[in-house]
């Protein structure tokens, strides 16, 4: 009870404090909220050229250039460098509103580019379309995401007044063309849209390999080497494993490396800041037995610090994190696909009804000191006991290219393996590895996940490094 006087006193203070400041002309809460909403709307509609947002949905990913021009009638024109859906997001007008909930909120009410990014990867990509207004900083408006697919990492958005020519910086056409360098079938695209390119610098006779994840806008520089062809690179002694990641942006028709990687190849030093993607061409090559493979190529003459270069899509990269080692590759057998992107699961289960995995061993040391190089399947019985059906091979590796030859009688199976299963193993591995070449392509957005691609018959699949 001894605290009661304190509370009573405090109440009096509050009451009289309020009375003293109570302005009979002070607007109601409703009016003040309406005024605050109106103020923010006035701010949003004020800039002559709208707002520029260098939008990074996730801290790990790169930047999307977005311009927003708000009208007082509840419409907002949004331009972006996201080329998806046949260019739908290049320039569109949608509805917005300003709410007052826990502070002022900007809600993009109908579908647009922000919603597209929000929905990627089953709405876990990290995009957002509801924003809280934080504050004004100089001429900028600062918002934060109200809800965020990337848990615990609310995105901060800086709205800067756009310049009159900022729309010229939008590079959606270049992004779309660059994306054409993907060898992955669109039907398998749920893992991102990775493109592998080789930059060739003729003045130094040097090739640099990089993968770009077009969806998250990250790039990984794999390595570099003297030479241009696979044969020249295989014989080069100047190869460098670079293995560096950076986020990227697309601006003014070029690719910008946000954390410019620096490296040295053959005594020459390079820093990749920005590469203009000019002079687009489609060229051809053959990755297997005279098959014609279509490639995408850009060429630039005046790249700062480098000079002229070509940048050509490829299956081949000069260096790979995949090496002969204790690691092996394994994944559920349903993730092997034919040339039409149909899973081989039924064909595999016809031979191995209890099939549980496809596995690929390369240089795994056995107890007797021999190296195990083999590919095949794991089957589980009713008691979850594993039976292995593997077929041995010899291989030569150049970068991410594995060229191999199956050894006729080299099977790693149970002693009592039925002939029908070894015959099935031979026919399935002959089919999947027809031509004796596969490229192991790193998916940089998902750790230890690789795509293997057979250029001889367009079979492909996914494997995790274990």
């Amino acid at each position: 009870m001894r605290n009661l006087p304190s509370y009573v006193l405090l109440c009096f203070v509050l009451i009289f404090g309020c009375e003293q400041n109570n302005d009979p002309d002070l607007p109601s809460v409703e009016e003040r909220v309406s005024e605050a909403i109106g103020d923010l709307q006035n701010q949003l509609t004020a800039p002559a050229n709208g707002w520029r947002i260098d939008y990074r949905p996730t801290p790990d990913g790169g930047t999307f250039l977005i311009l927003m021009d708000f009208s007082s009638d509840g419409m907002v024109r949004i331009q972006s460098d996201v080329p998806d859906n046949d260019g739908e997001f290049r320039d569109q007008t949608i509805l917005y509103r300003i709410d007052n909930s826990q502070g002022l909120e900007l809600i993009l009410e109908t579908y647009g580019v922000f919603h597209f990014l929000f929905e990627l990867s089953q709405a876990s990509f990290g995009g957002e379309f509801e924003f809280r207004f934080n504050q004004q900083q100089g001429t900028n408006l600062i918002f934060s995401s109200k809800s965020d697919g990337s848990l615990g990492q609310n995105t901060i958005l800086v709205f800067e007044p756009a310049g009159p020519n900022d729309s010229d910086l939008i590079s959606d056409e270049v992004v779309e063309l660059l994306g054409q360098g993907s060898h992955r079938s669109p039907g398998l695209g749920n893992l991102g849209n990775h493109v592998l390119y080789n930059i060739y610098i003729p003045s130094d006779n040097t090739t640099i390999s990089l993968t770009i994840d077009m969806r998250s806008r990250q790039a990984k520089i794999h390595g570099g080497s003297a030479g241009q062809s696979i044969e020249e690179i295989a014989q080069s002694v100047n190869g460098v494993n670079i293995n560096t990641k950076t986020t990227i942006s697309f601006l003014d028709g070029g690719i910008v490396f946000n954390q410019p990687p620096s490296f040295s190849i053959g005594g020459n030093n390079y820093t990749l800041n920005q590469i203009p993607l000019e002079n687009f061409n489609k060229v051809t090559t053959s990755y297997c037995g005279g098959n014609v493979d279509s490639l995408v190529q850009f060429s630039s003459q005046n790249v700062a610090g480098i000079g002229g270069l070509t940048m050509t899509s490829s299956l081949f990269q000069t260096h790979s994190v995949v090496t002969a080692s204790e690691d092996f590759f394994s994944h559920n057998h349903v993730f092997i696909f034919d040339q039409d992107d149909e899973s081989l699961a039924d064909s595999i289960e016809n031979v191995f009804p209890g099939a549980a995995a496809f596995q690929f061993y390369m240089g795994v040391e056995l107890n007797n000191g021999d190296a195990l190089n083999a590919a095949g399947f794991v089957e589980l019985d009713d008691f979850n006991n594993a039976d292995f059906y593997l077929r041995g091979f010899d291989f030569v590796q150049t970068g991410n290219l594995i060229e191999f030859t199956f050894n006729g009688d080299d099977f790693i199976t149970n002693d009592d393996a039925p002939q029908s299963k070894t015959d099935g193993l031979v026919s399935l591995t002959d089919l999947i590895f027809e031509g004796g070449k596969v490229y192991l392509i790193e998916t940089i957005g998902i750790e230890d996940l690789f795509e293997f691609y057979n250029p001889c018959n367009d079979y492909k699949g996914f494997m995790f490094k274990r």
Binding site: L14, S28, I107, T110, Y111, F118, Q122
Partner: protein, 295 residues
């Protein structure tokens, strides 16, 4: 000690509450706490909004919500709004395949107007949940029906059409048992087949049929059974073949399915009689009106 501690907590709470109450009530007598979250002043009157106002809100007392409001979904559910271009085609779709069939049949218009949900929500995509599952459609006690995947609108696509018709006929069927109860002894017809809200999803379609249900979800409760049976009967072109007609059997599984079909048939008869008795509308007539519109 615990009691003393509890008393202190209560005192402190009382004190804080008193301060809070004083603060709220003493300063601004005219203030209201129910200030609308949405500022109506920027709610534009587009041609689309006017069309909705005339043809749905005024005509049926049915509000159409296509602009995103996050409380249309539960916390943790992630979904995007529809493209504005899809809204009018979606309105045409629900008018053609849901409203008009009721208007076409005797007593159907009165029934529809008297039972129409107050709110229809359009969502652009599917609803993604934190546990990795996807929600296809939702409803709220007959007051709100939510259509998902409006951005994928394609009435000629059977999968898309089925999703929407199953949602709307299922949810609209709930209004009947909510207002008029289930048919007498309905839950006894396939009484041993019900599962529960937490276990229905382990059944396959065939297992549900063997138990006497049109879908696994129908086994979750008699109310859902009623709604699923009505919905499937209205939109499923092959309803008779799948759920009523007896196969010539040579296997136990086939015989079990036939037994299930007999139970579905018995339930449908009961539902149909009850539906016509309490609403004055023939379920068979509505089915015919729906089926006549399907491509």
């Amino acid at each position: 000690m615990e009691k003393k501690g509890f008393t202190q907590i209560v005192k402190r709470s009382l004190g804080i509450s008193l301060i809070g109450l004083t603060t709220l009530t003493s300063c601004y007598k005219e203030d209201k706490l129910n200030v609308p979250v949405k500022d109506v002043s920027i709610e534009i009157e587009t041609e689309l909004d006017q069309y909705i106002e005339t043809n749905f809100t005024q005509e049926y007392g049915m509000a159409i919500r296509y602009r995103f409001v996050d409380n249309y979904v539960n916390p943790g559910e992630r979904v995007a709004p529809p493209r504005i271009e899809t809204v009018r085609p979606m309105l045409d779709f629900i008018e053609e395949f849901w409203i008009n069939p009721y208007l076409d049949v005797p007593n159907g218009e009165d029934f529809f107007r008297n039972h129409v949900p107050a709110e229809i929500v359009f969502l652009g995509g599917l609803i993604y949940n934190n546990d990795g599952t996807v929600t296809l459609g939702t409803a709220d006690a007959g007051a709100q029906i939510t259509f998902t995947n409006v951005n994928g609108i394609d009435p000629t696509n059977e999968d898309w059409r089925t999703l929407q018709l199953q949602t709307v006929f299922h949810e609209f069927a709930h209004t009947v048992h909510q207002r008029y109860k289930l048919p007498n002894a309905f839950e006894t017809i396939a009484s041993t087949g019900y599962t529960g809200p937490g276990s229905w999803f382990v059944l396959t379609d065939n297992q549900a049929l063997e138990r006497g249900f049109v879908s696994p979800y129908a086994t979750s409760s008699p109310n859902e059974d009623f709604a699923e049976t009505v919905a499937f009967f209205l939109f499923e072109s092959d309803f008779d073949t799948k759920f009523i007609a007896q196969d010539t059997c040579q296997t136990e599984e086939c015989l079990a399915r036939n037994e299930g079909r007999a139970l579905v048939s018995a339930k449908l008869t009961t539902i149909s009689e009850h539906y016509e008795k309490v609403t004055g509308v023939s379920l068979e007539s509505i089915r015919a009106a729906v089926q006549n519109r399907l491509p």
